[in-house]
Symmetry: C2
Subunit: 191 residues, 2 copies
DNA sequence: CCGGTTTTGTAGCAGACACTACATAGCATC
DNA sequence: GATGCTATGTAGTGTCTGCTACAAAACCGG
């Protein structure tokens, strides 16, 4: 029972790479098997289902992502709202994280339609992000700022995804600027 | 050449309903044809491709969405950052708009991977949203606040999609609150 | 070396998919 | 009424999908 688990685990790693490369929609048992160096027959020997296989692989991907985030902003480091937002935004903008963001978006799409295992996985991953943001904020009550921070980052990723990266950067810049929204009906003096 | 165009147009409307109901991934020529009351054969007579068909249908969906947004917040109405954000957030939270948001997310997923026609369509739709936000803000230079507003709304929709609606609401509440982020390193006096 | 369990290959199933070839029905114009 | 164009039905094509039946190989304790 050891060999099976070891090969199964190795397959998960290779399949995670493949999933990051082609996305959830663009994959198939045969393609995943080729990427993992086995046959579809074996994948269904290791896993009961394609869904179970994808769930395990997506969990591996999530673990990698949180590891990379921890590397960029180690746990225990606490920052104010603006510095944390800046740091997190530049972290998720790293080219190495691009496939992760694409897959994250795809998982959220499935979750929005209530599909499983997408929904459960996505909710859990996002809960992890919430905890992460709360742990990195130096505010007394981090709940609301953490929510806003995550909304801005996810929103920025979304704007970037639809081809408006500069808009996303403007949003982050606006959120970081001191007096965020100029007081309503009060025009700034700069022409 | 008139009958063809009329029926083609009617088919687009029915297919838009179907697309909103089941999403891009869950559809097929046969299902679309059934929803439109024709045959797949006819759909490929009206359109050159499945892609062309989807592009036309998605444009129809986008037109409907902007019409609904204009109904909720008529053009010409200008607001400050916080009121506009509140109004827009409650507008996109309407149950009738839920399928639109799911489809919008799905389109963004395709756009993130550079797939066509998703990419072009999504970029154009988002450009429309940017113009819409700029037109509804009463600030002198609406570029940055508009970007932030869109990022928060899209981010909130994303948080909602992954099952964290209350988090999304907290984010909007935080963005609307007067002194958005408590000054960095300065703890509020409330315990 | 033998017998049973674990691991793997081969071949295929039944269904869905986008798309096409071909023929026909309806209609209009001359 | 012949001719030609538009509109539609029938019946497929080849390919891909997740998954399975069956059997052979490999391994391991006795």
């Amino acid at each position: 029972m050891k060999i099976r688990d070891a090969r199964r685990d190795a397959a998960i790693d290779r399949m995670a790479d493949h999933l990051l490369a082609v996305g959830l929609a663009g994959t198939s048992l045969r393609a995943l098997a080729a990427a993992a160096g086995t046959s579809d027959r074996m994948l269904l020997y290791y896993f009961t289902d394609k869904d179970a296989l994808l769930a395990a692989t997506l969990e591996r991907v999530a673990a990698r992502l949180t590891a990379m985030l921890d590397a960029a902003l180690p746990p225990g480091m606490r920052l104010g709202f603006a510095p944390l937002l800046t740091a997190l935004w530049s972290a998720v903008g790293m080219p190495a994280l691009r496939p992760y963001m694409q897959l994250w978006l795809e998982l959220a799409t499935g979750a929005a339609r209530g599909r499983e295992p997408d929904r459960t996985l996505a909710t859990g991953i996002m809960a992890g992000f919430v905890a992460w943001a709360g742990d990195h904020l130096d505010t007394t009550d981090p709940a609301r700022p953490a929510a806003l921070l995550l909304a801005i980052v996810e929103g920025g990723l979304f704007l970037d995804a639809v081809g408006h990266r500069s808009l996303a950067e403007a949003a982050v810049a606006a959120a970081v600027a001191p007096a965020l929204p100029p007081a309503p009906h009060a025009h700034t003096s700069e022409p």
